[in-house]
């Protein structure tokens, strides 16, 4: 394989990695604060992409011309809508089930994912078909031999990395982040210290869901297509990435996201049938779990006996 093609694979892998990492960071945040898995996360990604699409169509009807304005408005709408949705999910579904078995939370959010998927399919005009997603970013390409770098890919890559860094700073450098970390470490003690537990949980869910919305918009802009069913696999991959990296650890989620993308890319390169890439990636995940049962960056936990 020549260098240009290899570069193309690497770029594609990085792009996928950023998307997966954004989804995985959400999973890891939720698990951190509440020890729950919110399985509707993938469908929140999808819903975010559809909100963005609807906003774009609305702006077109209004006759807005400026592409920059459209990009910003579309992203803000998607992020805000999903942040609200995330907070609502926390308030109405996840918090009430705190004291029931953890499997129930998983099942409730799975069913919510199904409901979101069905709602988009039914209520979005002609929602059962894949929708073209507009190319809103400049598409100039730089070519080096057989390697093509498009400006929009570069922007998306940088934006994704910036978003993850921003979340990281938010968690590690702000007062709210301190509260989130406190709740993650010990909810009881955090409460005693005057942290508003429910608010922290809702903010965390809003944050994670906004990141998911960004992943959805990125996905739409990169592939120029969205469909109602795209969330399920994205959610499972994001979950795998978060678990392989080590739940509750933001670096683990990022590592896991890029690792999964790397595995898929390797699978696509090695096998003559590219569809084997998912078989390969998931088989590798199972092996990794057998080797490192609590993820690559293991959760620090002591068992109370």
């Amino acid at each position: 394989m020549d260098l240009g093609l290899a570069g193309q694979f690497v770029l594609n892998g990085l792009m996928l990695g950023v998307i997966y990492a954004m989804v995985a960071v959400g999973f890891t945040l939720f698990f951190g604060v509440l020890d729950v898995i919110k399985f509707s996360h993938g469908d929140v990604v999808m819903a975010g992409a559809f909100v963005a699409l609807a906003t774009f169509i609305g702006l077109q009807v209004l006759g807005v011309e400026s592409l920059l304005f459209i990009v910003i408005a579309v992203s803000v709408a998607a992020l805000a809508a999903m942040a609200v949705l995330g907070a609502l999910i926390a308030r109405l579904l996840v918090l009430p089930l705190r004291n029931s078995p953890p499997l129930n939370t998983l099942l409730v959010t799975l069913m919510l994912g199904l409901a979101l998927r069905e709602a988009v399919r039914l209520f979005y005009p002609n929602g059962s078909n894949p929708k073209p997603f507009p190319a809103l970013l400049p598409t100039e390409a730089f070519t080096f031999g057989s390697f093509t770098l498009r400006a929009d890919s570069l922007i998306l890559l940088l934006a994704g990395i910036a978003a993850i860094v921003l979340v990281h700073v938010l968690i590690n450098r702000t007062r709210m982040g301190l509260a989130i970390r406190a709740v993650a470490q010990d909810p009881e003690t955090a409460r005693v210290m005057g942290v508003n537990f429910e608010r922290v949980v809702m903010v965390t869910f809003a944050l994670g869901s906004a990141l998911a919305a960004l992943a959805g918009v990125t996905n739409g802009l990169y592939y120029n297509e969205v469909n109602f069913g795209m969330g399920l696999l994205l959610g499972v991959i994001g979950f795998s990435a978060a678990v392989v990296g080590g739940l509750g650890n933001i670096y683990g989620a990022i590592l896991g996201g890029f690792l999964f993308a790397g595995l898929q890319t390797l699978g696509a390169v090695w096998f003559s049938v590219p569809a084997y890439k998912d078989v390969f990636a998931f088989a590798a995940v199972i092996l990794l779990m057998a080797w490192k049962p609590t993820g690559l960056i293991a959760e620090k936990s002591a068992e109370r006996v």
Binding site: P96, L103, L107, V108, M111, V243, V279, I286, M289
Partner: protein
């Protein structure tokens, strides 16, 4: 009225009500009738609960488990006989029985031993594909193929044993989720197994008698060929019930419970955690594979789209909705989750949305499922008295 007569009466009442409900539920076509039935069911269940009939039936069934089991089987037989010409209703009945079998296996896995399995549909699917291959490429008698398919499912499942033994909780959940998706994707890209188009499976052949020939008794009675499969699947479900029920009541079940509730404490008491987990996982997959084998022969055609992650989720929903660990709860939950979407034709388009909302509501308001599992009765004779 004597105590004995009362007991008998309450079992009989429960069985008749259940049977009548099943017939109506499967047979009704008119949408208003389905709606009325749904309302009547809710009212009936409430009345049952508040009149104390519920508790009486429970006690009676606990005291006479064999009689209750026989009566339940007889009810299914009556339901099947009444519906003997309704192809679709019988297909639904057989499907419910097979899913119930699979869910008994899953109950054993994560209701009892605490191993979460999100790849139920994959093991069901392994049973289907093993059947397709064994029936087309070998001359093994078909009745023997069914347990063999179960064994194949258990064997393939043993690949996952090492990662499952090493992981816990959400990490363990990922193993089976990854396996379920891997399995479906593998089937889709593998041409030897038919790829996305799937495979054909010949009908069950029992000593020269094809199951696709309808049962005829005299001139009047001619059943749908699905009737044969209903009998077979209900027999399989009954077998699974007996196995899992016996296991639960034995020392094995006690060990499973100990492993699920606290692995550390269990190992301190000398319980070999790995051994019980392996046993529960393999036995559960065996049941799923056997159910898959009968399903493949019944539908005559299998494709990867029947064994998706979504199908595994339906199985998990059935187990949790029924009341995690409670075998009896699986049956109404399976009936509800499998037949209801088919019956809600009036809202055809919206049925999955409603179904999701329904499950969410049940989980919010009845977090332990429809029929929560009871505490183990350590001295059944004393507790029943």
């Amino acid at each position: 009225m004597g105590e004995r007569a009362k007991t008998g009466l309450s079992i009989a009442a429960a069985v008749i009500a259940g049977g009548a409900f099943a017939i109506l539920f499967l047979e009704l076509e008119a949408q208003w009738a389905v709606a009325v039935l749904a309302a009547a069911t809710v009212a009936g269940l409430a009345a049952f609960r508040f009149s104390g009939a519920n508790a009486r039936i429970d006690r009676a069934a606990a005291r006479h488990p064999r009689a209750a089991f026989a009566l339940a089987l007889a009810t299914v037989a009556v339901v099947a006989a009444v519906l003997h010409e309704a192809h679709f209703a019988l297909l639904m009945l057989a499907t419910v029985a097979l899913y119930t079998t699979t869910c008994f296996g899953l109950t054993l896995q994560f209701g009892h031993a605490g191993i979460v399995n999100f790849a139920g549909a994959a093991f069901f699917g392994i049973g289907c594909y093993a059947t397709a291959i064994l029936t087309t490429h070998t001359a093994i008698p078909h009745l023997l193929v069914i347990p063999l398919a179960g064994l194949v499912a258990a064997l393939i499942g043993s690949i996952l044993i090492l990662p499952i033994l090493r992981t816990r909780g959400h990490y363990a959940a990922l193993i089976t989720i990854a396996f379920g998706i891997l399995f479906k994707t593998f089937l889709e890209v593998n041409d030897a197994l038919g790829g996305p188009q799937g495979l054909k499976v010949p009908a069950l052949d029992l000593f020269g008698w094809s199951f696709n020939d309808p049962i005829r008794i005299g001139e009047e009675f001619e059943g749908s060929f699905y009737l044969n499969y209903v009998i077979l699947s209900v027999a399989l479900a009954a077998l699974a019930w007996v196995i899992v029920n016996r296991v639960e009541k034995s020392w094995l079940g006690l060990s499973f419970d100990a492993v699920r509730l606290d692995e550390t404490a269990a190992s301190v008491f000398g319980i070999d955690i790995a051994r019980w987990k392996i046993l529960a996982f393999s036995l559960g997959n065996l049941l799923a594979g056997m159910a898959g084998a009968v399903y493949a022969m019944m539908t005559g055609f299998i494709a990867p789209t029947s064994f998706t992650f979504g199908d595994s989720l339906i199985l998990v929903s059935i187990v949790i909705l029924g009341g995690l660990g409670n075998l009896l709860g699986v049956i109404p939950a399976a009936l509800l989750l499998l037949v209801l979407p088919e019956k809600l034709q009036m809202i055809q388009e919206y049925r999955f949305l409603l179904y999701a909302v329904l499950v969410i509501a049940i989980l919010l308001f009845r977090p332990h499922g429809l029929l929560p599992r009871r505490l183990r009765a350590y001295f059944p004779a004393k507790d029943a008295a």
